[in-house]
Symmetry: C2
Subunit: 148 residues, 2 copies
DNA sequence: CAAAAACTTAGAATCATTCTAAGAAGAGGG
DNA sequence: CCCTCTTCTTAGAATGATTCTAAGTTTTTG
């Protein structure tokens, strides 16, 4: 089996096939444009990069391709919870659990030592004013008496 | 010093005064409406609740009051990073550090044991598909060679 | 090749949020 | 009290990211 330098493209083709999806030039290009740099581009930025190679591509297609790549687990979306901002009077440091089935969010208390451990992961000279932690998952089948 | 049941209102008045801001019926009402329940309402939901008491209040005012409350550290915004979603090809579990000075985001590796510790905080029966961790703060004064 | 299915496209639509410009309300000084 | 300055509130317009729609293309399969 000959290995080429297009290793990641093979990944893409494989993953798409696994999901019963087609490999298209647009998907390939969007994927490559994300892999090309170790940054965190927005859809608009990706659109700009990709347009240089394929001037006819549309922004909608870029969004579509990104969604496909996320489905195939080749790319992660960073702030993907794009619903409305929510406001919270609980000022004790805590995390949020977002139930993807019900849409309900509730608070999870954070022990001091965990926060300390998280802060230790930062490189020298970096300081965190706050750490935003959100779990995404499912609650218990038999719902607890926790509220939104 | 006589303590009343309007403890939280006093908090508000105090905090506003500390920041050189006025205490208004709108700010009071928005604050009370968040304290009233232990949930995570959106601006629209707060608007709806508050409108019942003060039908002339506007959505813009609700947004303004919320911003004021956040300034005074009486309320937290949950998904406040409302810029564009960013996409990231790094599939190893990692956190993000968001530099509020430069707007730059970079990856922070997460040790397995820390993830395990986070998962242990969940109540019985809760499972997390993913945990989104974002630090907000400032990088080193002498910038490292880390990229966006 | 024909028909169905999967994709792409441009532009309209949506939704949360912010901006703008004008009007009200409170604080202080005379 | 009245004036003026500053702070707030308001309605509606504007913005910006994303999604939807409807039509056109490409691919696949029979």
């Amino acid at each position: 089996m000959a290995h080429t330098t297009t290793h990641h493209s093979d990944d893409l083709a494989q993953r798409l096939a696994d999901s019963g999806l087609r490999n298209t030039p647009q998907r390939e290009l969007v994927y490559q444009s994300i892999l090309a740099r170790r940054d965190h581009p927005t859809a608009e930025e990706i659109f700009a990069r990709v347009k240089a190679e394929m001037p006819t591509i549309s922004l909608a297609t870029v969004y579509n391709c990104l969604e496909t790549l996320i489905e195939c687990r080749l790319v992660r979306a960073v702030h993907f919870e794009r619903a409305s901002t929510r406001y919270c009077p609980n000022l004790v440091p805590h995390a949020h659990f977002h139930d993807s089935k019900t849409g309900v969010t509730h608070d999870i208390d954070l022990p001091e030592e965990l926060l300390a451990a998280l802060k230790k992961l930062l490189p020298e000279g970096y300081t965190a004013d706050m750490i935003d932690i959100t779990y995404h998952g499912r609650g218990a089948e038999k719902p607890e008496k926790l509220k939104d």
